[in-house]
């Protein structure tokens, strides 16, 4: 059979396959839908025949295109979003964090060590903290947490300001999360910088508020969302370091392969950490600045920290969810 015969014999079949493919790609049900898989197999057969016999690039390209589109259509994944989310929250995410406990220890060290150093330093020599924050930051901290200010509560009287702050925290904090992750591509240096810098910054803010302001204002404001925000931040840091470490020490793999593997493994950390930061924005926007008793705010904050401890140490250990897979 030469090229012309081959083409003449199959032309109609290819045309009708393409037409039905177009209908199915638009998500509509056509009359030819049921037979698509078997006709896809025929296309695959025709493609390998045309490739083997070298029937020229026009036929091969056409069949190649049809095969790719058919493959995409038949192997597409649809739906299952709800189930996948439940599975992620109850199994994949806490399990991944536990599996990467070494990374968690590392990012915690890189964050908390400068945090406490800066805080401790501020109690001895406040100049360090003042030099780190700069005049502008100091002024805004004094305005928010100064001796006789309750701006946070005051502002919230206005219509829609909770929602405004929520949107701001999403835009700012989740964006920082994504940068922390992406910074890992420079051998982890970007990620480490963000962790270290934020550790120093938070430590400095606390030290400075203790020095000039009313610490209770600060503590009662951050208590509610601190667990979501700090842990989410650290988890995203783990994802970034995962990428960076894959480039630094790829082990037996090539650097490109190690990077691809690390990307797959870091994904739950990125998504989970970002989701925690979104939750932090909800709490920070709609709860943290509400005028309620300070004791209640502390209680809620501690409860959230305990729940996080329980979530990351215990959830997803049982077998109930592994039955399905």
């Amino acid at each position: 059979m030469n090229r012309q015969e081959f083409e003449a014999r199959n032309r109609e079949e290819w045309q009708s396959f393409e037409a039905d493919l177009e209908i199915a790609e638009k998500g509509k049900a056509g009359p030819g839908e049921v037979s698509l898989p078997s006709r896809f197999r025929k296309i695959c057969y025709d493609l390998s025949l045309a490739q083997y016999r070298m029937f020229g690039h026009q036929i091969c390209d056409r069949l190649n295109g049809l095969a790719i589109r058919g493959y995409r259509l038949i192997h597409r994944k649809r739906g299952g979003f709800g189930e996948a989310t439940v599975d992620f929250v109850l199994r994949t995410f806490p399990q991944t964090v536990r599996r990467e406990w070494r990374l968690f220890a590392l990012v915690s060290l890189v964050f908390w060590l400068p945090f406490f150093v800066m805080w401790g330093l501020g109690e001895r020599e406040i100049q360090w903290v003042q030099a780190f924050l700069g005049a502008e930051q100091m002024a805004s901290i004094e305005q928010m947490y100064g001796k006789d200010s309750d701006t946070a509560e005051h502002l919230r009287e206005e219509h829609g300001s909770n929602f405004m702050m929520f949107a701001f925290y999403i835009q700012n904090n989740v964006g920082i999360d994504f940068r922390i992750f992406a910074g890992g591509i420079f051998f982890g240096i970007g990620t480490l910088f963000y962790l270290l810098f934020n550790g120093l910054y938070f430590g400095a803010v606390i030290a400075y508020v203790e020095y000039v302001g009313e610490p209770e204002l600060l503590w009662s404001f951050v208590a509610g969302h601190s667990s979501f925000e700090l842990l989410g931040f650290l988890v995203v840091g783990m994802a970034g370091l995962k990428i960076g470490l894959a480039l630094l020490s790829p082990g037996q793999l090539s650097r490109a392969e190690a990077l691809s593997k690390a990307g797959r493994e870091a994904l739950p950390l990125l998504i989970g950490g970002a989701a925690m930061t979104v939750l932090a924005a909800v709490v920070e926007g709609f709860w943290s600045a509400q005028a309620v008793a300070t004791k209640l705010k502390y209680a809620v904050g501690i409860t959230f920290w305990l729940l996080h401890g329980f979530y990351f140490t215990s959830v997803g250990r049982g077998t109930a969810w592994s039955l399905r897979k």
Binding site: I68, R76, S260
Partner: protein
């Protein structure tokens, strides 16, 4: 068509579970950069339009609510413009679509949301040092770092616009009296189907390589190769 082991094109051969080998045409960095710049313009246009709508609606919503919506829009467009479009049935952003490109996984299928997030988030940092994306030039699939981390690549999804211009119809069929391999036969046939777009000098140059088979050089050799192609295809 897989002809020789040493390949000089950008086709990526991928074997599917169906037992076939498909060819993905990887898209190069130059046009992808242009596509990215187009996308940047689209993003700015989207933000401008949204800003306008919010400005018009904000007496109704209140200043804070309007500003909140704008911040959320900035967030979504800045971080998820590429992700949303790559997950759509197009599989490509507006800029990539303009060039017939598509973002796919390494088997040519659609990317997942996670893959798309990884490849697009890393781009922002990659561009901090502008030479980093140039790594794509040294990768056979033109993958930049974000693509490597996500396991994705950018391919052309439309067929090549490479018109067939056959050579002049041969006057006579010339039998080939040696046994040809598949590759040799395909080469002679594609000479016939593509020679119409070459200059006469180029045709002669290529046909001269076959002088061992045709026994002629120069324009006569070209005629003989065309005749042999005719025989291979029609007369045998």
């Amino acid at each position: 068509m897989s002809v020789a082991e040493q390949r000089i094109d950008t086709l990526q051969r991928v074997e599917l579970a169906e037992g076939i080998e498909i060819h993905l045409r990887a898209a190069g960095p130059f046009l992808r950069l242009v596509a990215y710049l187009i996308d940047l313009l689209v993003e700015l246009a989207l933000l401008a339009v949204l800003g306008l709508i919010i400005n018009v609606a904000f007496p109704v919503l209140g200043e804070n609510v309007g500003q909140a919506f704008y911040l959320l829009a900035v967030f979504v467009i800045w971080w998820f413009y590429h992700v949303i479009f790559e997950l759509s049935p197009w599989g490509a952003t507006v800029g990539k679509r303009a060039f017939g490109m598509r973002v796919v996984n390494e088997a040519g299928g659609a990317v997942t949301m996670g893959q798309s997030m990884i490849r697009n988030f890393i781009r922002g940092v990659e561009c901090v040092l502008p030479f980093v994306p140039l790594i794509a030039f040294f990768n056979p699939r033109f993958q930049r770092l974000g693509d490597l981390a996500a396991g994705s690549l950018v391919v052309y999804s439309r067929p090549r616009k490479d018109p067939i211009v056959p050579g002049p119809p041969p006057l006579n069929a010339i039998p080939v009296n040696v046994t040809l391999t598949r590759e040799e036969e395909a080469a002679i046939l594609s000479f016939r189907y593509r020679s119409g777009s070459w200059s006469a000098a180029r045709q002669v140059e290529l046909a001269n390589h076959l002088s061992g088979l045709t026994g002629e050089t120069g324009p006569k050799g070209v005629t003989r190769v065309l005749g042999m192609a005719h025989w291979l295809e029609e007369q045998r």
